[in-house]
């Protein structure tokens, strides 16, 4: 086991150092995580306090990113929002990873009714344009952070379920599975101990590629007023707050949270690409 970890670490170092883009993404992610953990102490002002400066002041030495229409410090809000945005995306991806891979793996392994039910659920979700479905759910269940996490998890559920099902299906009759069966393992144990771990690499690549999209979906919902509510500091809301000012030239209100959002998504996507190259070299582009 430890040699495998070592080999993995060596391969990871190779990919990170060999591909400057992945390395850059790795550094950016480290920065984001730092902001998420310590942002509340790093931020120069209280992110919710109004009138800490003049209203709609452009970037200056006292307010690096300027102030918004309520005189709040945009830099502080951008920093503090990191935690919430990352937390929503990570929780949602974790949830859909767990639920989707469990459901998909059972479907692929047991077949029959389990498979029929899981496929039906997946097909039903996929019959909607996913963001539209998320809108409909959020409008029905009401906006709270918990509901955003659940909704974003639900619209990502099909991709994990499908991958897990396909991966398990391929391995269901593999030699080592046959051997495990002959050795007297129960079906459940075979699935959990012998098959599922072998499907993890593909699923993990999917999760890392999915993170960016989860951030965008959550921020998009907040942007249209169906996600996190103001005055909470969240990138999507902040972009929405500044949208009217883009027409009158106060660009900084939307631009800085927008760039933060873009960088976060970009670094997750690049990281996902790097991880895919590491785990599944055949799909290297």
């Amino acid at each position: 086991m430890s040699t495998a970890v070592l080999r993995m670490a060596r391969a990871g170092r190779y990919v990170v150092l060999g591909n400057p883009l992945t390395f850059g993404a790795f550094l950016m992610l480290a920065g984001l995580v730092t902001l998420a953990l310590f942002g509340h102490w790093i931020a120069p002002y209280d992110p919710l306090a109004t009138a800490v400066g003049p209203r709609l002041a452009p970037p200056s030495t006292t307010h690096w990113f300027g102030t918004d229409h309520l005189g709040r410090d945009i830099l502080s809000r951008v920093i503090v929002a990191t935690r919430l945005d990352l937390l929503i995306a990570i929780s949602a991806v974790t949830l859909s990873f767990a639920a989707g891979s469990a459901a998909g793996a059972s479907a692929g392994f047991y077949g029959g009714w389990t498979e029929r039910i899981v496929t039906r659920i997946v097909d039903t979700i996929m019959a909607f344009p996913l963001f539209v479905l998320a809108m409909g759910i959020m409008a029905a269940v009401g906006t709270s952070v918990m509901n955003i996490v659940l909704t974003v998890a639900l619209i990502n559920f099909p991709s994990y379920a499908r991958i897990a099902r396909a991966e398990v299906n391929v391995r269901r009759n593999a030699g080592y599975v046959e051997a495990a069966r002959l050795a007297g393992n129960t079906p459940r144990r075979i699935l959990a101990v012998h098959i599922y771990p072998n499907c993890l690499p593909t699923l993990i690549v999917q999760a890392s590629m999915n993170m960016g999209w989860a951030i965008l979906s959550a921020a998009g919902l907040s942007f249209i007023g169906l996600g996190v509510r103001p005055p909470t500091a969240e990138w999507g809301i902040m972009v929405s707050d500044g949208s009217a000012f883009m027409m009158s030239g106060e660009w900084w209100v939307s631009t800085f949270p927008g760039i933060a959002l873009m960088l976060a998504v970009l670094s997750f996507n690049l990281m996902g690409d790097g991880l895919r190259d590491l785990i599944d070299p055949r799909r290297r582009s």
């Binding site: 998320a134 269940v141 972009v239 027409m247 009158s248 959002l261």
Partner: protein, 334 residues
């Protein structure tokens, strides 16, 4: 072929109807009390409950819901005072026109770019394309839309203000198809056509940019695979003109995976169009749904989700048919 494919779409449509019904029942609070207003007496609320069928069991309510749907009744909008179905019908052309233009723009740029990158791997074009595909996947559409407004409207003044399908003082073209572009052409009014096209520029660019990345990426990958295939090598060895090999042999085969991705791109595009409609005050069904959400008016939102899902199912059907046109083998298999 068409009939059989239509039949396979039916379970999806049933699923969609069940989900929209359940969403309606998940509405927080008591809909009857909500419809009756804050000053209603308990009797009035009870009366409305009976009228809406809310005192019945869930299966009964579902049957009622299906019956209403079959009649084309999606309920009433509290905000506009109109039947939701009429509201949606009036706004759907605006949404479809925008989505169609966005998709067309994305295809017009992505396909040539993908082909160009695949025929010159490792070149400058290839690197730009790959960068674009990665960056494009990371762009929050609502942010790129605002940046376009700031640069093209505020800074440069090239685009008209992002406020709807036509400037306020303009008269709308006589409604024939619902698409202002086509209707203004049918009315032989080139000035109006230009005005409509101008309003479309920014939202179309925003949507097109969003859909660009996945199509480019797929086209490039598919073309690379096809160009390395045996039959392309054979065609080349037989001395066919490079142009013939590229467009007749390679591109047609490479289109298959591209058309398959188109389904996912459309799902994304329809979702994104809501955000774009909000930014540009576009009077489509997405903006309508968002206005209703603000007024806690749920029937229009439900109608909107249902309409979008049906549009999406139909588009997927169209993609499948397209698939059969590009690759005749598909027909034989099914």
């Amino acid at each position: 072929m068409v009939g059989r494919r239509l039949a396979t779409a039916i379970p999806g449509v049933i699923g969609v109807i069940v989900v929209t019904f359940l969403l309606n029942r998940a509405l927080p609070g008591d809909p009857a009390a909500y419809f009756a207003g804050p000053a209603a007496t308990p009797q009035a609320i009870e009366e409305i409950r009976t009228r809406l069928g809310l005192n019945r069991s869930l299966p009964e309510q579902f049957v009622l819901y299906i019956r209403d749907l079959a009649r084309g009744d999606l309920g009433h909008s509290l905000t506009t005072g109109q039947p939701v179905a009429a509201d949606l019908r009036a706004r759907l052309p605006a949404s479809l026109e925008l989505a169609f233009c966005g998709l067309l723009l994305a295809l017009a740029i992505a396909l040539p770019l993908g082909v160009l990158a695949a025929t010159r791997p490792g070149s400058g074009v290839d690197h730009v394309t790959r960068l674009l595909a990665t960056m494009g996947n990371s762009l929050p559409v609502f942010f790129t839309g605002l940046v376009l407004v700031y640069v093209l409207y505020y800074l440069l003044g090239w685009a008209p203000p992002p406020l709807g399908r036509l400037e306020v003082f303009r008269e709308t073209p006589p409604a024939i198809t619902g698409s202002y572009l086509i209707d203004s052409l049918l009315a032989r009014d080139p000035g109006l056509f230009l005005a409509v096209a101008k309003q479309l520029i920014l939202p179309t660019m925003t949507l097109g940019l969003a859909a660009l990345a996945p199509i480019t990426r797929m086209t490039r990958a598919a073309m690379l695979g096809v160009l390395a295939s045996d039959y392309v090598r054979t065609a080349r060895a037989n001395g066919l003109a490079p142009r013939t090999v590229l467009y007749v042999y390679a591109l047609r085969n490479a289109m298959l995976p591209v058309v398959t991705t188109l389904g996912l791109v459309l799902s994304f595009l329809l979702g994104v169009s809501v955000v774009v409609e909000k930014i540009y005050a576009w009077p489509g069904i997405g903006a309508y749904a968002l206005d209703s959400v603000i007024a806690s008016d749920y029937a229009p939102v439900q109608g909107f989700v249902l309409t979008m899902a049906v549009v999406y199912v139909l588009l997927n059907l169209l993609i499948d048919l397209l698939y059969g046109v590009i690759d005749p083998r598909v027909q034989i298999e099914s």
